[in-house]
Symmetry: C2
Subunit: 438 residues, 2 copies
């Protein structure tokens, strides 16, 4: 590309995709942006530097594929999967969580879900029914916007704050400000964080855990990018350093572990929810009244809620997850090593961007530079998120505005997973063109 | 077995499974009953005649298995599946619906779901948000009880009536009685009916369709047992006779098609929701306000609701469904012929039962004898449902009480899918023992 794309053409495509004009990309959903970019690529023949979607850019782990095919040939396709999870999966997941997070979750407290999308939906739904007066979920922003969309579907009230201004010990007072109302049922956060790739520290997780205990609400820890803080090497099973977790600081917690990114297995929709036994075995009156039972969290999570969502998780996928968890525990599947490829790509992309006048928006993790990984954030001079994406789109570069993630800062989120070796030079050329124009 | 099982032992197992005493099997959930029976089998070494669960008793269709393995080896596991469905699936499903139901549903109105469990959940959820004043779902009972459980989870009001007293033209007045309140958003029914195996006739479907149009509510037709009314041969694609459907009589309808029973593919959790374009393209204000869009049914069903439930359906399973739908359309997969095995088993089971003094509870379909098929219903003399299951349990026979299905009649639902060739004689012996005792 040696000049920007035809403005008229691009603008027409934006409008054809349901945007009111071509300057609304800042509020477009990820899905709309994907559609706009795909259409522009088709119309112009120009391949974009596509960074808008968080999809695996590696092959699915072959150990999972083989286990799935084998299970299918053994005939599991005809049999309803156990809603509590097949035995090998629960055993392997327990072991995996011990090996890479170093916490103990009993097998019966591990429940497979159709991706962490279903895991989060079921968790938010359960939280909203445990205790009537707890009608609100607190998000530690920036966040994965679809989890807020789940709250909208369920009519669950949301509070949120951008954590970037409250790192370290400042987090405590901010959490108390929200939790003291007594309305918060759960605190949702991801670590590493989607979209900012900030990583909460042990100190911050201790605060979240202590506050969850103090105000008796449940911390929901989304570990989609488990051990992808590549500043330290967490690739060895059963050896420190481990993934930091709120689970070391409170019993009031639930962990979401997805195979989508760690095993590049997004297509098959496999995940587990690991419930701290302190939560799992606890009884809550309101949900007990609703379903006519003792109100036990685990019983209601599995049989009242997860069951009616999909009657379980695809049978063969449960075998795939079991095989991959076990292989990781036994050092036969180095998922940390495999996903480290994202850090290599991110380092190159950031270097090119910074050379062309861009900056990293969330650059700092309590004094340390953020890790290179799956996502990164970037801005340009004093442009707003809207201005930046609405200009970059003509230069064949796509990413999503941070506003949709609850961020208080101006900039875009990029995902490096789709970048291929042959694109870096072209990326550089496009940004040179852009920085000459602005 | 030459005498009933030890009473004390069975009773203790009931109590260990969360029942207050051994005479509560009539109100046990299917899941609890499965657990009780499995425990008794383990403790006594006696194999039950297990008829409590509706699980496929045939092998998964091999065409699906092969297509899935091939897709996995091609690498689909790493890629998020299209939330609207992969192109080959939507094309094949459209063709399949034309071939076996003889209605036209455009590809873009067909949406894959994680089993019809997710299909029903998403449909009920969508219906409940379309129009605020429509806060109730009407069930034509007897029904699959989990769909009512879904309403309980969602806080959706339920009305219901047992259709057996309102067959034929009497259905119209009964429907009007419920619909005239203006609160009904949708009418849910299955055809063939789970649990009674009654089949609604064209006349009855015409009434439901006409009433759905008149009162502007949406008929939700669960076709889990598509073309398993074996009284006529509907095995030939694109040739009559076809599956009767409400879709011939109203635009206000949605069809649920699952691969679980028709292709014995329950383990893999694949289904599609086929939305009549008259509903799919229609806009509803209240849901539009909720999600900030034009309120189109299809847009909100897919992007606001199905998306947040699981981010789509397992990628390889979509390829399996596409392959099986296509094979059925091309006469290479005779799913009607394969599932006819259930009718053969049902005929033998019913004959043995009637010879031993049992009767079929729902025996009549507007003057015709009900079809033999996957489910059947049975009673004994004037015993209540509770009495019957609480006695049969000692004779190594299990089934579920009709009460849980909204039935107004006394009796049990049995599923013949698990019966094996070597069990019929033993079944006869047990019933002889039972009928000697009662």
């Amino acid at each position: 590309m040696d000049r920007p794309l035809d403005k008229r053409l691009v603008d027409d495509i934006c409008i054809a995709n349901g945007l009111r004009n071509a300057h609304e990309l800042g509020v477009a959903s990820i899905r709309q942006l994907v559609s706009v970019v795909s259409n522009i690529e088709r119309e112009t023949g120009e391949r974009y530097i596509r960074m808008e979607q968080g999809v695996p850019g590696l092959d699915a782990e072959q150990i999972g594929v083989e286990a799935e095919c084998e299970a299918l040939r053994r005939g599991v396709g005809a049999k309803y999967p156990l809603i509590t999870g097949i035995d090998p999966l629960n055993k392997a997941a327990r072991r995996f969580i011990k090996a890479f997070v170093d916490i103990d979750i009993p097998e019966e407290c591990i429940v497979p879900t159709v991706g962490s999308m279903q895991g989060a939906f079921a968790t938010i739904l359960t939280l909203s029914q445990l205790r009537k007066q707890r009608d609100t979920v607190l998000f530690i922003d920036p966040c994965f916007p679809v989890q807020k969309a789940q709250c909208r579907v369920l009519g669950v009230r949301v509070e949120a704050f951008d954590v970037v201004e409250y790192r370290g010990e400042k987090l405590e007072a901010k959490l108390e400000e929200h939790l003291s109302s007594g309305r918060i049922s759960g605190i949702i956060f991801s670590n590493p964080n989607n979209p900012s790739w900030m990583c909460l520290t042990e100190q911050e997780l201790e605060i979240i855990g202590r506050m969850a205990t103090k105000y008796d609400c449940i911390a929901v820890e989304d570990l989609a990018y488990l051990n992808m803080d590549f500043r330290e090497d967490r690739s060895r099973p059963f050896e420190p350093p481990y993934q930091p977790t709120v689970g070391r600081y409170t019993e009031n917690c639930v962990h979401l572990l997805s195979s989508s990114k760690i095993f590049s297995y997004a297509g098959q929709r496999g995940a587990v929810v690991a419930i701290n036994p302190g939560v799992a075995k606890r009884c809550f009156d309101d949900i007990g009244v609703r379903y006519g039972n003792d109100g036990e969290f685990r019983r209601n999570f599995i049989y009242s809620i997860v069951y009616v969502l999909s009657a379980g998780v695809t049978h063969s996928v449960q075998y795939a997850m079991a095989a991959m968890f076990d292989a990781a525990c036994e050092g036969r599947l180095d998922f940390v090593g495999h996903t480290r490829e994202y850090a290599r790509r991110a380092a190159r992309v950031k270097e090119i961007m910074q050379r062309n006048g861009f900056h990293v928006v969330y650059d700092n993790d309590c004094g340390r530079e953020v890790s290179d990984g799956f996502f990164f954030t970037f801005g340009y001079k004093d442009m707003t998120s809207e201005q930046l994406i609405n200009k970059l789109i003509y230069y064949g570069v796509s990413a999503i505005a941070l506003g949709s993630t609850g961020s208080a800062r101006e900039g875009l989120r990029g995902c490096v997973s789709n970048l291929t070796e042959d694109q870096y030079d072209e990326f550089d050329r496009r940004l040179q063109l852009f920085s000459r124009d602005y």
